[in-house]
Amino acid sequence: MSTADHPLPVPMQTEILALAKAELRPRGAAIAALRLVQARFRWISTPHLREVARLLDMSPDDLDGIATYYNLLFRKPVGHHVILLCDSVSCWIMGRERLCAHLRETLGIRPGETTPDGAITLLPTVCIGHCDHAPAMLVDESLHGDVDVKHLDRITDSLRESHR
């Protein structure tokens, strides 16, 4: 099902080369290229990492040093949806621990894990700049603020629904 072992599609290779060309040196496109791969495959597999490194004229280890450095680049498979629950100070004050406990219970996973059906990955994240609506979280690319337990249930239900 996953295409993480397949070669990068040719149009994506072309796109990465174009990104590299727009930079003063190809490696300047490292993050943009890795984000491109992840947007398509949800995570960055080692075969894909190697291909990107080749296109950017970098060694795979050099590029992996970048891929593993960032919170939002995934070097392991993740679920169809990723919940990033803020764990920084304002959200902590406003009760994010309770939300995290609720998610652990209802999803049956700990932060860093994926539900067995592959629907949802739960991850902590640093401050997402929505502190006036703490506690806050990102569900994929959508921002949620003033989150409570009811809100969480609605969201996880709809994520599971869409996965089914």
Binding site: Y69, L72, L73, V89, V126, C127, C131, D132, H133, S142
Partner: protein, 431 residues
């Protein structure tokens, strides 16, 4: 009228969305660009901004005009130079630049264009944090609109000056907000800070002269260049010029952000704008400008929120967004949360920071869990002194991390002691 008192946010209307080029121009946008590109020499722009007393709004508070003055003076056509907008807003408790990015991206673009003209940089980059998806969309749209109307690109307004902007979306690492780490990130390397000198103004991105300015700093420029430096100085209430985006989060009635004269008293921000504490909660202490600023207690509520006054009170203005600690939240737990963040986000380049911050986190976790010893407090205080002093690490990450710890150890000495003697948290975070 709003434009005169609240220049940064006057055009922001969350319901209507960001203004397009035509609306922006109708309401006074691009005026500064017209006047500057065809009427002022780059050195004159630097002089005006210096006289406006604009200081960096990202946290460090360095004079903007002064920062620019170190850039070599060749025209953009003769030397590759960069102007970079730092939109990597990742300081916990900070949510002000998002407002400007989402609300009026053209204002940032115009600010960048003016800064670039002043330092004669032909290349612009916005380093935007990866989590700001809406901001990214709106910024990209605004850039392409500005480009199609000739506000970006070759020979802008026939002035001979060329400038364009590229958006770099980050992938989530606090240290990228540090200006030299930001440059390293843009070069496709692990984003560790660099030793200075060379300073970015002479050897920055790809070795070229570069200036990194915060989003809010840049957004002030069109207004300064239209209304003049005296007007800008007049907006502030103390020694600093302009307005400031202040914010409050925590258990207040109306958490939020407001554009106010720089130097507005802290009490006024918390009581009038944030509506005071929620019923049943008392204000115990606060971090005035983000996670890396020292705690202030209620005796400091009457200080002016400007760079000098907050420093005199023992903290820093930082980003100007305050985080409130209430009387029902455990200060030890809060400091543990902060130090967990700093330990996780240490880039690992300098040994004292890489090894010291996790050590601090472990000690705090033990105290919070009830296995701490009195000696641990000495150990924490020692870290506060050793790591808190700038110069032991390449960047200000560790000193910033120690600000809430060192101040908290003093301010909450009784709470720390109670955790140790009573073998755990007496105020178990109630959520």
């Amino acid at each position: 009228m709003n434009l005169a008192v609240r220049p940064l946010t006057a055009m922001i209307d969350p319901e209507a969305g960001p203004p397009d080029c035509a609306t922006y121009e109708q309401r006074g946008g691009w005026q500064a660009t017209r006047r500057t590109l065809n009427g002022l020499a780059p050195g004159e722009v630097i002089d005006i901004v210096t006289r406006s007393r604009l200081r960096g709004r990202g946290g460090a508070g360095f004079g903007t005009g002064q920062k620019w003055s170190f850039v070599p003076k060749e025209p953009a056509s003769e030397r590759r130079k960069y102007l970079i907008a730092n939109a990597d807003e990742m300081e916990p408790g900070t949510f002000k630049d998002r407002w400007l990015l989402e609300g009026n991206p053209l204002q940032l673009i115009e600010g960048m264009l003016l800064a670039a003209y002043a330092i004669q940089a032909g290349h612009g980059v916005v380093f935007l944090r990866g989590e700001y998806h809406l901001a990214c969309q709106r910024l990209e749209r605004a850039i392409s609109e500005a480009r199609s109307r000739g506000w970006l690109g070759e020979n802008i307004l026939g002035s001979g000056f060329s400038f364009d902007i590229h958006v770099h979306s980050g992938a989530g690492r606090y240290i990228c907000g540090e200006e030299t780490a930001l440059l390293t990130a843009l070069e496709g390397r692990r984003a560790t800070p660099r030793s200075k000198p060379p300073f970015p103004q002479t050897g920055g991105l790809w070795g070229a002269p570069s200036v990194v300015n915060n989003v809010e700093t840049l957004c002030n420029l069109p207004h300064i260049l239209v209304n003049g430096p005296e007007w800008f100085v007049g907006l502030g209430t103390g020694g600093d010029g302009g307005t400031k985006l202040y914010g409050v989060s925590g258990r207040v009635r109306r958490p939020g952000a407001w554009e106010l004269p720089i130097g507005t008293p802290l009490r006024q921000i918390i009581e009038d704008h944030a509506g005071g504490m929620r019923p049943g909660y008392e204000l115990r202490a606060l971090l005035p400008g983000g996670a890396s600023t020292a705690f202030l207690d209620v005796t400091s509520l009457d200080i002016a929120m400007d760079y000098g006054s907050v420093e005199k009170a023992g903290s820093r203005l930082g980003t100007g967004t305050a985080i409130i600690l209430d009387d029902r939240t455990c200060p030890v737990g809060m400091i543990l949360n902060l130090e967990h963040f700093f330990a996780q986000e240490s880039c690992g380049w300098c040994t004292p920071c890489r090894e010291g911050l996790p050590w601090v986190e472990r000690l705090l976790a033990a105290i919070e869990e009830g296995t701490g010893e009195h000696d641990d407090l000495d150990q924490l205080a020692r870290h506060g002194r050793m790591l808190g002093m700038p110069g032991r690490t390449f960047c200000a990450h560790a000193p910033g991390a120690m600000a809430p710890l060192a101040s908290g150890l003093k301010l909450f000495a009784e709470d720390f002691a109670a955790h140790i003697t009573r073998r755990g948290c007496p105020l178990r975070h109630a959520a």
